[in-house]
C-alpha cells in the first residue's frame, strides 16, 4: 500500500487532528516505513494457521450481572478539563 499526502490528510480528518506541512511529510515517511516493515510478515506462509486475535490461550472470562459500583460523579469528573451540572463539557457538537 502506498501512503501519500492525501491519505495522511484523510487520517488527520478521521483523527480530528491537524498537522503542519513538515509533520505531514514526516508522517507520510513514517507510515510508509511501518507498512513496509509489516509487509515482511506477508512473506510468511500462513496457510492452515488459524487467525489469532489474542495472545493467550484463554476464553470465557466473564463476570456475573451484579451491581458493584456506586455513584461517584465528583470522582469521575475530577480530571475533566471542564464540567458543569454533573456533566462533562465539550465543544459544541452539531448532529
Amino acid at each position: 500500500m502506498q501512503i501519500d499526502k492525501d491519505l495522511v490528510m484523510y487520517l488527520e480528518k478521521l483523527g480530528r487532528i491537524e498537522l503542519s506541512e513538515a509533520q505531514r511529510a514526516a508522517t507520510e515517511k513514517d507510515l510508509q516505513d511501518i507498512l513496509t516493515y509489516i509487509d515482511t510478515l506477508n512473506e510468511l506462509d500462513t496457510d492452515g494457521v488459524e487467525p489469532a486475535s489474542h495472545s493467550f490461550p484463554i476464553a470465557n472470562v466473564m463476570r456475573e450481572d451484579e451491581v458493584t459500583n456506586t455513584a461517584r460523579p465528583e470522582a469521575i469528573l475530577q480530571n475533566a478539563p471542564n464540567s458543569r451540572d454533573g456533566c462533562f463539557v465539550v465543544p459544541k457538537t452539531v448532529e
Binding site: 489474542h54 463476570r63 450481572d65 451491581v67 459500583n69 455513584a71 456533566c87 459544541k92
Partner: protein, 476 residues
C-alpha cells in the same frame, strides 16, 4: 410505472441486565447525570473491560427464539470513531463473528401467505452516552449513564416489501424480546430503536436501487409515516429523472419529513480491528442446550396453549400475546378467578379501553390481577351487574381502590332479595301517575319510561329482567 419498495431493518435493543456490558455500573434508566459511571465505562486510560455473562445468555436466547445459528467461537471488535458520546473513541462491537446468524421471523406477506423475514445477524455491543446541547454556553454537555449499557443489534435481510410487514416484524420481535426477558422494549426510553434501509425499484427488476438509511424512529407510527414519506420521495425523484443519493436521513416526527444528515463520509471509515482487551467467548453445545431448556414460553407457544388448554379463540390469543403486560395480567388473573374467557373479554374490552383513554402504555399497567379478578368474580356471582363492574374497574384502574371495599362502601351490590324491590317500585308507580295511566290506557311505550325511572330509583342495582317482570305483575 409500478414501483416496488425494498426495506431492511437494523434494530437496536437495550438489554434488561442489571449492569452494563463491561463493568458493574447499574443500567437503571434516569437518575442524575454521570451517577452510573465508573473508570471503565467513562474510558479512563488503563482500565479493562470484563464481559457481563448475562449479555451472552440474552443474545443466545434471542438467537434461539429467532431460529438463528449460534456462533461457537465469538470475538469482539473495535469500531473506531471520534465523537464525545463515546469516551474511549471506539465502540466495542462484533463485526467478524457475530453471535447469531441466519435466522428468521415469520410475517404475513402481501398475498396473505406466510413469509419469512431473514435475520442476517445479531451482535452484541455497547450503547453510547447522551449529548445535551447547552444553549446558554453554546457548548455540549455529556452524560455517560447510558454509555456501556448492553445492546443487541438485530440486522434483517432486505426482505420487507411493505410497511405492514415491517410493523408485524417489529411487533413480533418486540414480543420475543419481552417474553424471553431480554429487553423491556420501551420505545420512549430508547430501549428499542429501529433504523430503516429503504430503496425502490421498478416492479420486476431484480437489482436493488440505491438505498437511504432512516434514523430517529421512536414509535411504530413514526416508522410507518417515515416509510411512506421516504418511498414517495424516492419514487418522485426517480420519475423526475433524478437519482437517489445514498445517505443517512433523520426523521422529524413533528414536521412529518426526513432530511439528510451531515455527510457521513468522515464516520464511515471505522477502522475495525479485533478487540485485544477481551478474550474470545466459546459457546459449548451444553450451554446452548441449557439455555434452550430454560427458555421462557414464547408468544407462539403461549398462543397455542391458550387455544388448546384454555379454549380461547384465535383472535383473543393473538391480542393477549401481543404484549407481555397483557400476558402477565391475563395469566395472574386466571389463576385467581379461573375463567379464561371472561378474563380475556375484560382485558380486551374494558382494560384496553382504559389504557387508551388514559394514554397509559401496557407496560405501565396500573391494574392488579387481584383487582381485575375481584371485579370479574363479583359480576359472575351476580353481586354487581356489568355496568357497575365497569365503574368499579375504572376506579381500581385509575385510583387503585379495592373493588370489594368500594362496592361495599358505595352500596353498589345488586339487590338479590326480590322482595326488597316491591316497595321501591310502588314508590315509582306513585310518582309517575301520568305515565302509569297512559300505560293502562294501552300506550305500551310508556312502560319504557316507567322502567327507566325504576332502574334509576334502584341505581341500576337490580336485574332489569326481574324489575320488568315485577312491573308487569303490578300494573297489568
Amino acid at each position: 410505472m409500478e414501483w416496488e419498495i425494498v426495506m431492511g431493518l437494523e434494530v437496536h435493543t437495550e438489554l434488561a441486565t442489571k449492569t452494563k456490558i463491561f463493568c458493574g455500573c447499574s443500567t437503571e434508566f434516569g437518575g442524575e447525570a454521570n451517577t452510573h459511571v465508573c473508570e471503565i465505562c467513562s474510558g479512563m486510560p488503563g482500565t479493562l473491560p470484563l464481559l457481563n455473562r448475562r449479555v451472552v445468555e440474552f443474545a443466545i436466547r434471542t438467537g434461539l427464539a429467532t431460529h438463528c445459528d449460534i456462533t461457537r467461537k465469538n470475538k469482539f471488535d473495535r469500531k473506531n470513531y471520534f465523537y464525545p458520546d463515546l469516551p474511549k473513541a471506539y465502540q466495542i462491537s462484533q463485526l467478524y463473528f457475530p453471535i447469531c446468524r441466519n435466522g428468521y421471523i415469520p410475517v404475513t406477506g402481501a398475498d396473505g401467505a406466510p413469509k419469512k423475514i431473514g435475520i442476517h445477524e445479531i451482535h452484541m455491543e455497547e450503547d453510547a452516552g447522551k449529548l445535551i446541547h447547552d444553549a446558554f454556553t453554546d457548548s455540549t454537555l455529556v452524560d455517560y449513564n447510558r454509555c456501556g449499557v448492553p445492546l443487541l443489534e438485530i440486522v434483517s435481510e432486505p426482505d420487507f416489501r411493505s410497511a405492514a410487514e415491517v410493523i408485524e416484524y417489529l411487533e413480533k420481535l418486540r414480543a420475543i424480546l419481552q417474553f424471553t426477558g431480554v429487553s423491556d422494549c420501551k420505545m420512549q426510553e430508547g430501549s428499542l430503536r429501529a433504523d430503516v434501509n429503504l430503496s425502490v425499484r421498478p416492479k420486476g427488476q431484480t437489482a436493488f436501487g440505491t438505498r437511504t438509511e432512516m434514523k430517529n424512529l421512536n414509535s411504530f407510527r413514526a416508522i410507518q409515516r417515515a416509510i411512506a414519506y421516504e418511498a414517495e420521495r424516492q419514487i418522485e425523484l426517480l420519475e423526475d429523472g433524478g437519482e437517489v443519493v445514498q445517505e443517512t436521513r433523520r426523521w422529524d416526527d413533528n414536521k412529518g419529513i426526513s432530511y439528510a444528515m451531515r455527510s457521513k463520509e468522515d464516520a464511515q471509515d471505522y477502522k475495525y480491528f479485533p478487540e485485544p482487551d477481551l478474550p474470545p467467548i466459546e459457546i459449548s453445545e451444553e450451554t446452548i442446550e441449557r439455555i434452550r431448556a430454560s427458555m421462557p414460553e414464547l408468544p407462539e407457544q403461549k398462543k397455542r396453549r391458550y387455544t388448546e388448554e384454555l379454549g380461547l379463540p384465535e383472535y383473543d390469543t393473538s391480542i393477549l400475546t401481543s404484549e407481555m403486560a397483557y400476558v402477565k395480567l391475563f395469566e395472574a388473573t386466571v389463576a385467581l378467578c379461573d375463567s379464561p374467557k371472561d378474563v380475556a373479554n375484560w382485558i380486551m374490552g374494558e382494560v384496553m379501553k382504559l389504557l387508551s383513554a388514559t394514554a397509559t402504555l401496557p407496560e405501565n399497567m396500573p391494574l392488579t390481577p387481584e383487582a381485575l379478578a375481584a371485579v370479574i368474580n363479583m359480576v359472575r356471582a351476580g353481586k354487581i351487574n356489568r355496568g357497575t363492574g365497569k365503574t368499579v374497574l375504572e376506579k381500581a384502574f385509575c385510583d387503585g381502590v379495592d373493588p370489594e371495599q368500594y362496592v361495599a362502601a358505595h352500596n353498589l351490590a345488586q339487590i338479590t332479595d326480590l322482595s326488597a324491590l316491591r316497595p321501591v317500585l310502588e314508590e315509582v308507580i306513585a310518582a309517575n301517575e301520568k305515565s302509569v295511566s297512559e300505560y293502562k290506557a294501552g300506550r305500551t311505550q310508556a312502560m319504557g319510561y316507567i322502567m327507566g325511572q325504576a332502574m334509576r330509583a334502584l341505581k341500576g342495582k337490580a336485574p332489569a329482567q326481574e324489575v320488568q317482570k315485577l312491573l308487569h305483575e303490578m300494573l297489568d
